[in-house]
Amino acid sequence: MNSLQIIFRQMRQRALSTWLTLLSVLLGVALAVAVLVVRRDAGRLFGQTDYGFDVLIGAKGSATQLVFNTIYHIDRSPGNIPYSLYTDLLSSPAFRPLVRIAVPTVVGDSYRGRRIVGTLPKLFGLDDQGAPLPPDRVLEYRPGRTYQIAAGRVFAADKFEALIGSDIAAETSLQLGDEFQATHGLPAPGEIPDIHKPRWKVVGVLQPTHTSADHVIFIPLLSFYTIAEHGVGLVAQKALRDGQDPAAAIAEFKAQVAPGAKDDDEAPDNFTLDAEGHIQLQLSPEVWGLSAILVQARSQPLALGLMYAVNNGSVASAVNPALVMRDFFGLFLRGPTLVLLAVSVLVTLVAGVGILVSIYNSVAARAREIALLRALGATRARILGLICAEAGLIGLMGGVLGLLVGHLLAGAGSFWMRQWLGESLNWTTVDGQEGYYLAGVVILATLAGLVPALKAYRTPVAANLVAN
């Protein structure tokens, strides 16, 4: 009988204890491996770690909230900024020397839990008349990458048309040619949804970008303002900005767009459609609001100047997405995952102690067998080696299974993240860190076996044979 057969027989003899010890190692390793995968791929969770634009302009408030909301389509919008800021960026002497491309966006509504973003066709490479823009005037969502159409076409700037992200069809069953109505906000589960009246028709599908944009429905900016509740809300916001009575402003607006209508809470339609379906909006651009403006500065040095200029105004803040996310990863993500890693290492250490206790007890119970082995010619060194190898083997088996389970855990997390953020973890890849960790677990387990091994080493042969 060789050493390995002896070890397996010992393990089988006290199977329950062996399995429980192995399970404790497995759980510790699985937790540690899952944390290692998340730490390694934390950047991928947010899809983008590089950005095709330098500056993100939005309402004053949290920079992280602005980036999360605009780029990753999570969290609430920090608020609205006036549309006039967008036109200023493109034409005012203060901003024009700094700005190469600016694209406005509005958010707030959803369809079956997926965000609707109002924007201009320029985000997809066309001007408002549908003509292609010069390549260097098309905003890149990542360096060197622009949105591409997989099927259909880009929406018209002034029609109830929509362009859907690559995953929207699978997530909402919307297909090319389908019509849908937007839901006000993003209702909580169980909340009665407030469905807006306008109907948009899907005219195009985007190619996958592997960013959260794959889960977004894009509609024309103009169509976003046709939603009656939005019109009334924007009028009230403009009045508040101007220090006027919002109720009076709304009453005046209602009288203007729906003369003779009964003065109730119902928001009036603020648009008409011509024969070809073009929107004629009765809401002045002075009233329009934006959630954010994506800006590519003419150069990176000028991006600093642009942010400084906007931030020193009173109406908006400007942030650099890369900087905000580096800050987030460095300060808020790395710390907690380090704590989790420390906890999982502690769990592994406890599992090592478990190996020690389990084998120590078995050595006490196996004193006669050890004495017999010695009597049959096994040296003390071989007994020591057998016990240590048994402990190491438990560590190795628990470690390998833990590695497998840890990756499966990360895979489950990856699936959830894909739904939430549109990006997944690279959970199938095993890297060097995990290899070192596994080697550490085996060494720890072997060392844990050393204490009972020394006890076995010192087992008096004659006394144990006689005693039993």
Partner: protein, 187 residues
């Protein structure tokens, strides 16, 4: 912390900025108005009569320079055309520059290929962003990812001095193709 410093650099609370409409008052504060420098802290003379003229590059030379030493001249990007001849002559020189890295494209600190090098973080909110002649536009050689150092870094690479323009607007004047980045000395 370095990151906080850069946030402050771009921060909302930087000085008593213009109020009211966005464009108002920007002409005086914008980094484009280089001559309206708030470089009171800088002791490097920039006056054409007082500034130190850069020595002509020597063959095989790698020159250590401070950023403000390199950009030791007044420059108004709205006017342009006034980069001193001795500075223009530095184009092609290998330089070693110390400053703070500000990657504006990549958030992954292990994969930086494009970044700005600026003299300081200016953690105090009552200042101005670096002027265009004190902002080095850096790209790593062959776009090879290089590490990001949140504290001071020393970059080595080939300097290009030129008025880079787009639609008639000056967008940068100093570019470096970076071949090496090391952590800067602890001060």
């Amino acid at each position: 912390m370095a990151v906080f410093g850069l946030v402050a650099l771009m921060g909302a609370a930087w000085g008593a900025g213009p109020s009211g409409s966005m464009g108002a008052g920007l002409a005086g504060l914008s980094p484009l108005s280089g001559n309206a420098s708030a470089s009171a802290a800088s002791l490097i003379p920039t006056d054409p009569k007082l500034r130190k003229v850069h020595a002509a590059p020597k063959s095989g030379e790698v020159r250590d320079l401070e950023i403000k030493e390199l950009g030791n001249f007044n420059y108004d990007p709205k006017v342009g055309g006034n980069i001193p001849a001795d500075v223009l002559a530095l184009s092609g020189l290998k330089v070693r520059l110390r400053g703070i890295m500000a990657p504006l494209v990549q958030s992954d600190p292990k994969k930086v290929t494009d970044f700005l090098l600026v003299p300081s973080l200016m953690n105090c909110c009552f200042g101005q962003p670096p002027q265009i002649q004190h902002t080095i536009d850096c790209v790593t050689a062959d776009h090879q990812p290089m590490p990001y150092y949140a504290d001071q870094a020393v970059i080595e690479g080939t300097l290009q001095v030129r008025e880079k323009k787009e639609d008639g607007f000056v967008t940068s004047i100093f570019e470096v193709t970076v071949t090496d980045i090391k952590p800067g000395p602890k001060l």
